[in-house]
């Protein structure tokens, strides 16, 4: 067992974990934050995407011990004071989700994308989300959701 301390959605947690425990299992099973989903074991689907120190990572691809000392944001921590993040709002407004399983990861990846490119083209959005799979939407409304969020975050409406 190894002791780690991580900040998740602004709250600090110190826990003993098995060295082999994946970060996504730590978040889901140890901390009980089940909004982050698991869709594969090959680091392809992106359902497990969270932010680590502000950057999108696939939490199934890291060990919990690697996260020691870092600050994580999961889907549960994205809205602030009950206000949805513009990306969450975009997914709702533009029907960017159906079954919703890819959605937490897709939203976190989109947040990261808009941090580095505030006004992406359609092509940049599509390439920016290539690490995240969605089986339901055909991506059409996901692109629109990200466009909506980009506009909103730049003060447009």
């Amino acid at each position: 067992m190894a002791e780690i301390t991580v900040t998740v959605n602004g709250k600090s947690y110190t826990r003993d974990v098995e060295p082999r425990m994946l970060l996504v299992h730590f978040i889901r099973d140890v901390l009980g934050l089940t909004g982050t989903n698991i869709g594969c074991e090959t680091s392809v689907c992106g359902a497990c995407t969270i932010l680590m120190d502000g950057q999108a990572i696939k939490s199934c691809t890291q060990l919990a011990v690697q996260a020691d000392g870092s600050s994580l944001t999961t889907i549960e921590g994205l809205a602030s004071n009950g206000d949805l993040h513009p990306v969450q709002e975009g997914f709702w407004e533009k029907h960017g989700l159906q079954c919703g399983y890819c959605t937490p990861g897709m939203i976190m990846a989109s947040v990261d994308l808009l941090q580095s490119n505030a006004n992406p083209t359609e092509d940049e959005i599509r390439h920016g989300l290539e690490g995240n799979l969605c089986r339901c939407t055909g991506y059409h409304n996901i692109v629109k959701a990200v466009q909506y969020a980009a506009e909103k975050m730049q003060g447009g409406n």
């Binding site: 089940t34 909004g35 989903n37 989300l129």
Partner: protein
């Protein structure tokens, strides 16, 4: 109608989904829960001589290890839909296999441990003595002499031999035709891949001696029926099935699977400990059902003017190593019966062999049989066009069933007594041609060819059978479905004026909580926000058949409509009493009961609901409460249709196909929520495009699934695709009072052939007339370079 049906409102279910608050199966934690991992056969065909679990049992943290022998008292899983009217040599899986395995991934043992990590560790400590047997993976080769035999009761691996249509008349049409084109094709195997894999949690109560099973199911009521009546042999009320939030299904989550029985049976063995099993993606690929996998030969006969005079089809449908729940109905009823497409083909015959092979089970996958039929028909049309040097749009036009022919019974009685409900096929084509500016497009194509670029235009005109019913047609004596296919709804208007709708269908992404609320709110004249839709728990809810075959709105939605109508009748009676008027003098409009002509003195539905619930003063003989349950069995299926156009450009040097434009003109009848319909079309279209260009499940000769992970199976990513343009025509279905046809599968049924036809059109200069899906860069490049004109 009121104001809610037809509105593109945002979904009611989304707030929990976009904030991470939804509870999918893997999110459920129960006190004392233990975790199961399944040992799966690494061989595609083998006898199990013995299994030694002792080492695994002694690993710290392991709670129990079980093999098939521990569950020998459970029956094999049932096959609930066998092909109608013929002999089916049904062989189905067991909770865990005992003597032999017929595909890689079949479960042979289970470890239950304090954590999934420990359970997985223990799997490596189980020793199975297998006697490996020879393997066959191809649907047609399995029937040839000398092929390995999978099941004693199925000589030559044939599970069923089914046919529809008129063979003699079709042969005659082929003999008399101006042109006959013969083509073989493969409709490749696909892996449904909902982003949430399957899972289940079983809880046995030693006190009540009953079970609760949480499961990722599209049809929890049906699961309860199949598990209790067929596998466990216990009364239905001894099992409660709950589908929590379900992350996509696409057909693969309709079926009863061994693991759902396993978690229940294991929980009982462990004295009632909750047992969770969650599928890994690898397991999902090898142990959950696949779709399609047809080997087909067909002949199409036509006159020189493009009129098609006959279609004769022979298909070998791969069903896998054992039969899944409704496997038999997919390549028969849902395939052969649709081979007239949108056309007035005068002669049709189809013969289907369903065969066992050493591969994973094949069952319904989005569209289920209908994409296979539409693909074949639309390829046939293009082959005729190419042969006669006619415009493919024109060949479609001359063969369409005209609007005045509805209701239309396809020739040779291939629809077995049913008739297409309504259609305006040319209208959808005309709209599509106009939207893509077809004339100009062909000029653009000619210019591109001049410039040495390969542009292609592909069409797909389709019709599908949706809202599959009626029970008397589809049932055991007809199409072989082992039950009915009606749907239930319960509607209650509570005393606070809040409505609860309970449906027997199940939402795993379709948005029932929104669209079904729209139906009830519209008819009751209420706010959508005041209607709550409940589903997916068998406890205390009316039986329902679940969600598949684009049936939830067209059958389930109509059940809600009918219940609301009965509630309105009762509300009128009570409202009239409150208004001191005669029942026949009042009317119900916009949520209010009033005397005809005096809308200002009205009782709202909320006021009536309160009066009905407190029951202080009701008309004589009236029961309290506004509550009604309907079991709706439609008189016919519904038949959505449309025309899709795909425009591609093929890179000569690499064989890469770029989709330049995709337009879908669909007619799904009346739309409840256009936002949701469009979303269904987008997703459906992309699944079909994925079959056309990228996806394919590949087994090697040893029966190993080579495309066994998301690294190896080409699920489309965002940048593979353009925006999907959608438009529609609206021909209400006369089958139901809401005019709904259904929208869940339309996109998938239409799109694979649109892109394939486009690529073949682009490659026409090389004399290429057909390529089998998926049209990967390599395949296209090879086709160009092995054609006479392609060698440079």
């Amino acid at each position: 109608m009121g104001k809610a049906i037809g509105q593109a409102i945002k979904r009611k279910e989304d707030p929990r989904l976009i904030t991470g608050q939804a509870k999918y199966l893997d999110d459920i934690q129960l006190p004392g829960m233990v975790h199961a991992a399944v040992l799966r056969s690494p061989y595609a065909h083998a006898k199990i001589n013995s299994i030694d679990t002792s080492e695994a049992e002694s690993l710290p943290g392991v709670v129990g290890v079980f093999t098939g022998k521990d569950f020998a008292d459970l029956n094999p899983l049932p096959c609930a839909w066998q092909a109608g009217g013929v002999n089916n040599n049904a062989n189905t899986p067991r909770t865990l296999e005992i003597d032999k395995v017929t595909f890689t991934g079949a479960g042979v043992a289970v470890v239950v441990a304090e954590s999934r990590y420990i359970a997985e560790d223990a799997l490596a400590l189980i020793h199975v003595d297998y006697e490996v047997l020879p393997v066959v993976v191809d649907a047609k080769k399995a029937t040839e002499p000398g092929a390995p035999q999978l099941h004693e009761n199925a000589p030559n691996n044939i599970c069923m031999e089914w046919s529809c249509g008129d063979e003699a008349a079709t042969d005659q049409a082929l003999a008399d035709a101006d042109v006959v084109i013969k083509q073989s094709l493969r409709n490749q195997r696909l892996i449904p891949t909902p982003m949430e894999p399957r899972g289940a949690i079983g809880v046995f109560s030693p006190v009540a001696e009953d079970y609760t099973v949480y499961m990722t199911s599209q049809a929890p009521h049906v699961m309860r029926l199949l598990m209790t009546a067929f596998v466990f042999g216990i009364p239905e009320n001894k099992l409660r099935c709950i589908s929590p939030q379900v992350g996509g299904g696409f057909g693969a989550k309709i079926f009863l699977y061994p693991e759902y029985c396993m978690v229940a049976a294991v929980s009982k063995k462990l004295g009632g400990l909750p047992v969770k099993w969650m599928e890994t993606r690898r397991e999902n690929y090898i142990a959950t059902t696949h779709g399609r996998d047809h080997v087909t030969e067909f002949e199409v006969a036509a006159k020189n003017d493009g009129t098609i005079t006959g279609l004769k089809v022979e298909t070998y449908a791969n069903l896998g190593g054992t039969l899944s729940t409704i496997a038999g109905g997919i390549p028969t009823t849902l395939y052969g019966r649709l081979l007239s497409g949108v056309y007035k083909f005068p002669n049709i015959y189809c013969k289907v062999y369903g065969t066992y092979t050493n591969t994973g089970m094949v069952d319904a996958y989005r569209g289920a049989g209908r994409p296979e039929a539409s693909y074949l028909v639309e390829r046939a049309i293009d082959l005729v066009a190419q042969k006669l040097n006619m415009d493919p749009a024109e060949v479609r036009r001359v063969n369409y069933i005209p609007p005045e022919a509805f209701p239309y019974a396809p020739a040779s009685n291939i629809l077995n007594g049913l008739k297409y409900d309504s259609g305006e096929y040319e209208g959808a084509l005309n709209k599509a041609l106009e939207l893509v500016d077809y004339k100009n497009l062909r000029q653009e194509q000619a210019a591109a060819r001049e410039a040495g670029r390969l542009m292609g235009i592909g069409f797909s005109s389709y019709v599908e059978i949706c809202g599959v019913a009626p029970s008397a047609w589809i049932g055991l004596n007809g199409e072989g479905w082992g039950a009915g296919l009606w749907e239930s709804a319960n509607v209650r208007v509570h005393l606070t004026g809040q409505v609860v709708v309970t449906t027997g269908s199940q939402s795993h992404g379709q948005g029932h909580e929104t669209t079904m609320a729209q139906i009830a709110a519209d008819l009751l004249g209420m706010d959508v926000a005041d209607v709550r839709v409940e589903h997916s728990d068998t406890l205390g809810t009316p039986f329902g058949y679940g969600t598949y075959g684009s049936r939830s709105a067209a059958v389930g939605g109509v059940a809600i409509h009918n219940s609301v109508q009965k509630i309105i009748e009762k509300a009128k009676k009570i409202g009239a009493h409150m208004l001191e008027a005669a029942p026949e003098d009042v009317t119900f409009e916009d949520g209010k009961v009033f005397v005809k002509g005096s809308p200002d003195k009205a009782k709202t539905i909320q006021e009536v609901a309160l009066a009905a619930a407190v029951a202080y003063d009701l008309p004589e003989g009236t029961e309290p409460f506004l509550d009604d349950t309907t079991y709706y069995d439609p008189p016919n299926c519904t038949y959505p249709f449309g025309t899709h156009v795909c425009i591609v450009e093929v890179d000569k040097d690499t064989g890469h196909v770029a989709i330049k434009r995709y337009l879908a003109v669909d007619d799904v009848g009346k739309k409840i929520n256009p936002l949701i319909v469009d979303g269904q079309i987008h997703g459906g279209v992309v699944q079909g495009l994925a079959q056309g260009l990228w996806e394919g499940a590949v087994y090697d000769d040893n029966g190993q699934l080579v495309s066994g992970s998301l690294m190896d199976y080409a699920l489309p990513k965002a940048h593979f695709l353009p925006m999907i343009e959608t438009d529609s025509t609206e021909t209400p279905s006369p089958v139901n009072p809401l005019g709904i046809k259904g929208a869940g599968e339309a996109g998938t049924i239409a799109s694979a052939q649109a892109v394939v036809n486009a690529v073949v059109d682009a490659l026409a200069p090389y004399g290429i007339t057909h390529l089998d899906m998926p049209l990967t860069s390599q395949k296209v490049w090879e086709a160009i370079h092995s054609s006479g004109n392609g060698r440079e």
